[in-house]
Structure formats: C-alpha cells, structure tokens
C-alpha cells in the first residue's frame, strides 16, 4: 500500500474497511493509538496509514494485548518479547522496599512479570518470613511453613 497517497476515506468508510465499529475507530484516534485525520470535522479524511494502524491494533487486541501496551508498541517500544538477559551497563528503575532495618527487597515488576497484586503478596510473604526468622532465633517457628506455601504460589509466575 502506498502510504504517501493522499487520505481519502471518511471515518465511516475507514471503519468498514477495518471491520470495526465507527465508535471504536474514533476511540482509537482519540486515545492516540491511531493518528489524527487530515482535514476538519466533516472534511476529515483517513488514508492507508490509518488503516494499517487499525489492522495492527485489531490483530494485537485479538491476541489479548492491552491498549496501553499497544500504544507503547506503536510508538517504538521494544517488541513484546522481554529480554532474558540485560546488557551490561543498561539502566532500569526498580522499587526498593524496606522489610526491616538492613533488609531491602528490590523489585523490577516489569521484568519480573509481576502484577501489583502479586508484588504485594510477595512482600507480605517476605515480611512474614522475616518475622518467622526473627521468632526462630528465640526457638519459636510457627509461621515458616505458611510462607513456604505462599512462595510456591508466587513461583508459578513466569
């Protein structure tokens, strides 16, 4: 398709071509997934570039990719294959959570693939594990097994 061709479809026609409801097409334009049309209100026209973007979005949403993520992908973010190993010298932003004085957990949820919920559960597990370990020094060791279970569930996450 020649992307240089002057845009020629009104929104309704573009929607038919992309096999999406007009409202959804307009929604994608409004949230910035699809580029704005050329021309004012009634004269607004869309072209091959817009159609291409729409088809790409349709493919990704069908595969269950969230709109936020699609926005990143369309705007030059890395492809949805998370790199296994980080290059030396690369920089990432992580959260540092203080469990106790001298103990800190560093989490990069993006890379760990953890949902906020899972992160919280994990931290709760760490907290109880810490408390259990503290208690164990005094001879008591009640809480440890429960944590093991929790960690197991955590472990299921890629």
């Amino acid at each position: 398709m020649n992307t240089d061709a002057s845009p020629s479809y009104p929104l309704a026609e573009l929607a038919v071509l992309a096999d999406l409801p007009p409202r959804t097409v307009r929604y994608y334009v409004q949230i910035g997934l699809v580029d704005r049309p050329e021309g004012e209100t009634r004269a607004a026209r869309y072209g091959a570039r817009h159609l291409e973007q729409l088809l790409q979005i349709r493919k990704w949403t069908a595969a269950g990719v969230s709109l936020e993520r699609i926005r990143e992908l369309l705007h030059g973010a890395p492809p949805p294959v998370s790199p296994r190993e980080r290059a030396i010298g690369s920089v990432s932003v992580c959260s540092h959570l203080t469990v106790a004085d001298g103990i800190e957990v560093v989490i990069d949820p993006q890379r760990a693939g953890l949902s906020p919920e899972a992160v919280r559960q994990f931290i709760q597990g760490v907290m109880t594990a810490f408390k259990a370990a503290q208690g164990e020094e005094d001879g008591a060791s009640q809480a440890a097994p429960a944590n093991t279970n929790k960690n197991e569930r955590q472990a299921g996450e890629p």
Partner: protein, 832 residues
Amino acid sequence: MQQQSARLETRAGQALTFKGARFEGSLRGTLFEANLEQRFANPFDRHVELVYTFPLPWAAVLLGVEVQIGDRCLSGAVVEKKQAEQGYEDALAEGNTAILLEQSFDGSYTLNLGNLAPGETCVVRLRYAQVLQFEQHGLRLVVPTVIAPRYGDPVADAGLKPHQLVEHDLMVVHPFELSLRVEGALARARIGSPSHPLSMRLEGEGETTAMVVSLARGGCLDRDFILVLDEVAQDSLALCAQDTQHPGAVSVLASFCPRVPASAHPLAVKILVDCSGSMQGDSIAAARRALQAIVAGLREGERFSLSRFGSTVEHRSRALWRTSPATRLAGQRWAAQLQADLGGTEMEKALDSTLALAGDASVSPGAGEGAAPVDLLLITDGQIHAIERTVAKARALGHRVFVVGIGSAPAEGVLRRLADETGGACDFVAPGEAVEPAVLRMFARLRSQRMASLDLVWPAGAKPVWMSALPGSVFDGDAVTVWARFAQVPDGTVRLVGTRAHAEAPESLGEASLTAAEHDSALSRMAVAAQIETLLAAEGAHSRQALELAVAYQLVSPLTHFLLVETRAEADKPADMPDLVKVPSMLPAGFGGLGSLDFCIDPCMAPLSVNEAPEHYGSPAAASGAYLDFDDPFDAPMVLRSGRRADHGDTANKAGTYDIPAFLRRSSNQDGWQPPRDDPRYWCAEPHYTGLTPLGLTQWLRSHPQAEWPQGYAELRRIGLGAAVLDWLEFVLAEGEGESLVVACFVQVMAQRDLHEALLSDTGALGRLKVLAQRVAPGAALKVRQDDPAAASILARLQVFVSTLRAERWPDCVFALQEGASALEQSGVGVG
C-alpha cells in the same frame, strides 16, 4: 498529546470534569422511585467528549432522562441501538452536541457527552424506579455508586466496547449527596445503614408521615449506599396499572410473602469461597467471619464441604463432611487461615471442580436416610467479566446456588442472576456489617422446604397476555414478585400455590386481591421492561419483539439507547474531533485491601496497591494472562516450584540468583532427602490435598536420623505433610491427648521399615498391609512409652489406619475426618 495533559490535570484534582452526583428517592410500599442527578463540566479550552460508565440498581428501570446544557433544558428519545450510535457519530462529525446513554448487557450504563464546549456545564437527570423485595422480613435498598474492577477481559468476556470500560483512579473524589423519603407504614420501621452514617427526620403526621433520610456526613461515589428497613409488617399485594399505550389493557404487579415450613431433610451444602486478589482486605475478613458463623451454625448430621478458589481451586475435603466436633474444628481452622492469595477469579472452573466433589450418599455412608439434594453456597464479591458463561455454567450444574455477596461494591447483578437462575438466593454483607444475620438468613433458606413446582392462580376468566417466569424455588419470608400484562382489567384474588416434591395436592403459599395502583405509568412501563428482559433472555439480542416494545414504551435496554442531539450554530462548532475525557471511577472503599473500613491503612502497603484492576496490567505477560497461570508446573523453574531449595535435585539451577548461599541456609532437618515434588508417588498436588504422600513421609523418615524426626504438628507441616493429615491427627486421632505423644506415635508407626517397603511395592497390595498391621503388636517394634495407656490406645487405632494406607494417597478417613475403623469399612466396601 492534548489528551494526556487533560488526564494529568484531572489526576491532580485541578480540573474535574465530573462534579458529583445527587440522589433523591422516595420509597412507598415496595416501589422505590429515584432521581439521580449527575453534574459535568468542561474545564478545558477545547471541546471534549465525556464518557462516564456507572451502575444503576439491579432490576431498576430507567424511566426518563433530562439534560441541561448550560441553561438550556433538552430532551431526547429512546431509539434503536444502531440508529442511536449512527446519530451520535453523525452529530459529532457535524460538530453538533449529542448525548448518548447506552445500556450494556452486564447492566451498566455508559453516558456519552459529545462536544461539550469549553467552559460549558451539563446536568443529566435520570429517573428510575424499582420494586424492592422483602427478604426475611426486611427490606434492603441498595444504591450502587461505582463499578469495581473486575477480573477477565471486558471486551472478549463481557462484550463491552473499548470506550465503555471503567477506568479507576485512586486520586479522584466524586462527591455524593443523598436524600430519601420513606413514606407510609415504612416510616415507622427500624431504619439503619451499614454503609453510611445517616441523619433522619420525621415529617408529617398520620397518613402523610414520612421519614426523611440523608447522609450525616458528605459521601463519595466509592461504596454502595445501603438502607436496611427492619421490623416491617409485610403483606402480599397485587396492583393493576393502566397501560400507557393501549387503553383498557393493564399491567399487574403481584408480590407474595410466602409461608414455607422448614424442611425435614438434613442440610447438605458445598461451600465455595472466593480467594481472588479482589477479595483482599475487608472482604476476605468478612468472608472469614461468615465462614466461622456458617461452620458454627451447622447442626449435627448435616453435611458440608469447604473449597476456595481464585485462579485455581483448593478443596479441604474429598467429599462432604458430616458435621461433628472434629470437622467443625477443622473447618474453623481452615476459615481462620483464609487468604485472598489465589490470583484471578476463575469462577467457572471452580464451579466445575466443586460440582465434582463427591456428594452422594454412596460416598458418605449414613446419609442414606432421606439424602437431601446438595446445595452450593458461594461467598464472593462477584467481580468478574465473564458473566454469561458463568451463569450458563451455574445453570448447568443442577445445584441451587446460594450467594453471600461481600464488599463495598459487590456486583449485585451477576450474583442475583447466579442465584435466581439456579433456584437459589442471594444475600449481601457490607464491610463493617455483622455477617451473622446474613448467615442466619441463609440457613433459614437452605433449610426451607423445597417446592417441586410453583403456580400462580389468576381469578376465574382472567388470562394474562404475558407473565414473568416464577422463581425456581420459594423461601419462607422471601417475597416472590410476578409481572403480568392483561388485555382487560382482571378482578378478584390471585394466589400463589406450590407443590412439594412427593405431595399430591398443591398448597397455598400466599394470596392477594387485585387493586388499582396509584402510580400507573411507572408500573406499566416496568412490566414492559420485565417482559423485554424475559425476551432478551430467551431470544438473545435479535429479539424483534423486545426491540419494538422498548421503542414503543421508550425504555433504554441493551437493544435501545437514549439519544439527544442539539444543533449548534456554525460559529460554535469545533474544527476538530473532540478530545476524549473518560470520567474515571473512584476505587471502591477497601477494594483489594486498599485501605480498610475496619482498620487503618498500613502505610508500607499503600504505594504498592495502585492499579488493582486486572485489565490495567500492561506487561505482555499480563496481557496474555500468563501472570495468573499457576496451572502449568513447567512455567516456573524447579527451584521456585518446590518453594524450597532444590539444589539437591537434578534440575539445572537456572535461576541462580534465587539460591541462598550455603552459610545462610537453615541447617536443621532440611539438608537430608527432600521429596521430589514432581513424583506423584512422593508428593501429591491435588485440589483437596497438597503435601507428602504416605510413601513420601516414610521415605523422609528413613532418610533422616531419628533425632531430626518431627516432634510436633508444626514440624510435620514443615517437612511437607498436608493440612488434612495434620487436622486428622489433631482432631480425630488425638482425642484429647497431647501433641507430642500423638506425633511420636504417628511418626513411629510411619517409620516402620516394613511399612515403607510395603508402600514402595504398593500395587494395590491392601492385603499385605493388613498382614503387616497384625504383625505390629502394640508397641512391639516401637519405643514409644509403652507403659502409657493413652499411647496404647493411639497405637491400636493407628494400626487400623496403617492397614488402609496406599502409597500415593492418604485414606478417606483422613479427608472425612473420621475414625480409621469406620473408614476401613468404607474402603472395604469400595474395594470389594
């Protein structure tokens, strides 16, 4: 990127587009009429399109929409969905102002305010009505204010369009005002609210008495408003209302308060608790309290099972337990340990798995005397998108589903449908509300006499043109509401009759004489709305008749939308498409453990809790649902799966960073052999039991020196013995004896060399184990305090227990929390 900046402003609270909601209502008898006023403004310097998705109460019928833009009052019409959408798009393309109110199949409403000019304000007034249902001698009025984040894919599962999705924002605050008039006899009821502090004032005297209820403190749209009216005299009634379209025709609302005797059958119930992430915090605490109350309220001889679900399902028992002191204790312990840590909300899978729990008389002997059908009791917040699939699944189960809805904004629609379509019932507990009354009400329903069939007897000669379906079951004190439409005014008495399962003659459950209604138009249109709902359920979205009725009676439905278009002067028209501003919803109070209505917020948790909604997770893994996938054991490296170091195993140590340096390891009993978790002979991982198998335990004991053997329940748990076996030891075997003695006896018996070998070669060699058990004379090979008579008794019972052991599974008596001897008979029956 103007869009982005608009959102940022909103988050900072500087430029709110939604100014708040005002709610007015009046309750007369069981008819509740309400006005909901929503105020919007465009604080930006460009034209915007505001989109706001909000809930209306379950079974509420939207009767009218009024819009005021600036100081211009406008009115629109209800038209067919396609036409409305087209009209809205056209209006926006032309640069005109348009307002579209959509109803989705999940019952939520989406308001679209297209092309609101800079600085313009808009007030939308919605008028709706609903008929409240008496439940166990009380009325509960719920005004939902927010849709909570739900689990699942809103587009694929719930059929929502992308613009209709609810976005939640932790930072926004939407004020909410409320004023209610409770009129007539109800004004003298006991009135309270578990959700908001109220201020109340009595107005008028005699016939015109009304109780005016308002919020004592400013409210927010972050929790359902609940008004509970207690100690109300309830009556059956039948009201006739003139049809608004066809003169002479009438619509009838008949409401009965049936009297149903208690059932003679003992109760049998499978309890399923939602432990998904959205239950975190207040909700799971309420679920725990509810379960404690349920387990305590079960009577001897009744049967129950306990399961919890999230992404996966865990059952506490393999079959239904008979209520006994032991099972009650085990149940209460299980309830006390409940955590909302199972991830997603796979309700369908959970219903399936729970159904598969053995519940027949053949598995639990002694239930032969009038084996009652098994019911399902679900404790959940109902926050799922896959509503249709789940309801269809529940219907196919064949169990009645009873629901206790929990949380500050439970998904009432889903839960009501689950209960109604399976012949069960639904009850709700708000955070901070006592759960015991709800549990007691549930027990009253569960123990209520079942009716095989229900019928409505109209006065002689009167035949309805259409009548709503009768519920699948009736419960003592729960109102039964029926809508009907007649071509001519019927006169006389209408009766509700029911027939018991094995009875010949039907018995009368309630009757009411037909009287003319005061509020004609509301009632007749509500009857039509009920008919549309029935048609939609039967024929789906293509029902021609439903569409025609909805347009004729101007009712907003999933097939019809409200549309209003205002033509603007050319000069006022924008040059461009309006910016989209989605009105974010507040996060329901206490949702997902985000703060608590019971306790204060733990400061160290707060920053982690933002963005609870499953649909918000942006990572590709999240998008594909992989982060919730606990099913596939190969997802995780071995070292993580075991939850313990597996560096003794043969798996390559892929995740080296997770390993703990040797000097940090606990050097006690875990350095010896560890059971391989992927070998089913040693380690069992099933919904009802996760932990060491009998063979796994004997192997562990053989590979560790006696000095390291467990001496208490906690140590047994640490080496990997599952909760079921531990509870059996503590509640059944111990019979009041001390922990150390019981554990010592158990460990000694399990450590016998012969037993290990027998289990190792176990190919169904039950006979060999029996011989073995006879050889083990009390205390012969065991060095446990032989002189202790208590030990002798325990050992004797353990012998019986050992003789039923299989390599890979613990005997049924463990899961049924029964004495070994009776279980032996059972398994004998099973094998023979």
